[in-house]
Symmetry: C2
Subunit: 329 residues, 2 copies
DNA sequence: CCGGTGGTATGAATCGATTCAATCATAGGA
DNA sequence: TCCTATGATTGAATCGATTCATACCACCGG
């Protein structure tokens, strides 16, 4: 220990935590000893004595999805204001991985957790929260009392997309969607239906929902390809994709079938407004979610909560960004 | 504590760590008590006693860059094999942030660190490593004895790109590059020069290097635009971009100036081969780096190192993926 | 009946920083 | 000169899990 500086343990601790109570001269002496030895205090010991301090955990679904990393960036930006740090991990929508990471975070005495819950998993979270670890749900509304949440109105998002297509005059919408066990997928479908009904139409006549093999470009490509094959080689007039990666896959599928020519006969709307949406072969119309703000707000709620603040449920509104891919040619 | 199960602390500890030495009957009794109370052992205390255990830290340059998240995924995939977990953070190429996170990781008693070093920063890392925390450098070769590293041969990457353009018959290459203080930028330039010289030409005649305002799409767009303005409105015949985001920006710039028409007169080569490279307006020729393998290998090296294994320097070879953007029309 | 052996359980010592009551030093006031 | 107020430093107790030497028990062979 750095009492090679000729002082007691208590004084060293004071230099770190309450420098003002230490005489300037002593402080300097200790400080130089610290620098020379490259002394770093043991975080585990600090934390053991103090309770949790600086780190906040975030458990996302997929660390490679730009939507989540943008959210994470918002979280980080809020946390650095208070000198907190972020521990990231991804659950891959696997409840088992989720449970494992939740336990690890709790063992590490994390200050609180931001969690994008997997399809079905709330028991662990509720238990954790009950044990006194503040939890804020991300991209999912909370029904547990005392647990804050930050989410986006996915019904409104689905409605925006469908309304846009209907207003263009398309009579049918082919909806490449994920399983309804995923809340977001179900909600977006509900929004689509609402837009259809608002125009006096019957969803059963207008909406053709096609379940995706996977929620990425490969899934979009294959699923749309199979659909086209099953319909005598005719492409749909208008497609709504549950996220932009799927939309990219759909475009790829159409282009392959059009002999690598740009296909402009089919309207496509995506979801998430990823960075390159504007730069694609067909600049993609998409529903934008305020990712950065979501992360920022969630971190803010968590820190407030940890300090005894109020429970809140923030619901952001999505926004439609219209580009060439959805316009009638 | 869970000695409401009627046993001593030591026994509870044994149930967790050496279940075989506890009598089955006792073990069950303790286990049910644990489950009922939702008992989670205090990670700080464990770690204090044991030394570091499960977590590995990774400090990346930018968490939003797909290149780094793909690498992170490789890391995670390796770590889960040994039940380790990953703490992620991004330094934003800011040495101060880097230092802060390094200290935090060390305080947390991390098992080891994977670091993509900022432009100039090795002192901290060397000191840390000297203090006994295993460090593996990512995407940068190590010159410090005892410190393993995983990197890609950026000289070869630059050479691949330039050779491809030269072989297409282009007489000049406009290179949108970052500052040479960034090792990768400098190395790629060296590779370009090597390709030029190998063909008996003088780099001074062939290569026009243009410094970028920022290493993203906005930077690529603006920098190329300024260059074109400075050259009487004429676009270069062949462009090499230091990464794919810059290439996307360059394409955007060209399209804007071509009245939103696809511009096929200019050849473009990017770097990183991001996911959507094939789906862009001009499918992008790019230099691919084995991101996932890099992460996996780095994590493997780190775990090996922590277990007293050897120091190693792995250098991966990049690969050129040719698409339409670079082909003579 | 005794000593030995193997299988279990115990609890005190330990890790290292923090905290707080107690000690020590110095200066100022009476 | 003595007493007190103020400021600075000390060191023992503490956090909670792990570890290890010790104790306990039952059973077996001699």
């Amino acid at each position: 220990m750095a009492r090679a500086a000729g002082v007691s343990v208590g004084t060293v601790s004071n230099v770190f935590n309450r420098p003002d109570v230490v005489a300037p001269e002593t402080r300097d002496r200790v400080q130089t000893a610290i620098d020379e030895l490259g002394f770093v205090r043991n975080g585990s010991a600090r934390q053991l004595r103090r309770g949790s301090i600086t780190t906040v955990g975030a458990l996302l679904l997929d660390i490679r999805n730009p939507f989540f990393t943008d959210v994470a960036r918002g979280v980080e930006d809020r946390l650095t204001l208070d000198d907190h740090t972020l521990m990231l991990a991804s659950s891959d929508d696997d409840p088992e991985r989720e449970a494992k990471y939740l336990r690890l975070f709790e063992e590490h005495g994390v200050l609180g957790l931001l969690v994008v819950p997997t399809s079905r998993s709330t028991e662990h979270l509720v238990a954790l929260h009950g044990r006194g670890v503040p939890v804020v749900l991300l991209d999912a509304p909370s029904s547990t009392p005392g647990m804050s949440s930050v989410s986006v109105d996915d019904v409104a998002g689905g409605e925006l997309a469908a309304a846009h297509l209907l207003d263009q005059g398309f009579a049918t919408i082919t909806f490449l969607n994920g399983p309804h066990s995923i809340r977001q997928c179900e909600a977006r479908r509900a929004g689509v239906d609402r837009a259809v009904r608002a125009r006096g139409l019957d969803p059963a006549d207008v909406v053709h929902e096609v379940p995706l093999a996977s929620l990425d470009a490969v899934g979009g490509d294959q699923t749309l390809g199979a659909w086209i094959d099953a319909h005598g080689g005719a492409a749909p007039e208008a497609i709504f994709c549950v996220n932009d990666l799927v939309a990219v896959g759909a475009q790829r599928c159409l282009r392959k079938r059009g002999g690598n020519e740009l296909v402009t006969g089919t309207a496509i709307v995506g979801y998430d407004d990823i960075d390159v949406a504007a730069e694609l072969a067909q600049p993609l119309t998409s529903v934008r979610q305020p990712t950065h703000e979501m992360g920022y707000e969630a971190a803010d709620l968590l820190l407030g909560r940890a300090a005894g603040g109020p429970v809140r449920h923030t619901i952001f509104q999505p926004e439609l960004v219209v580009r060439a891919s959805s316009l009638r040619s």
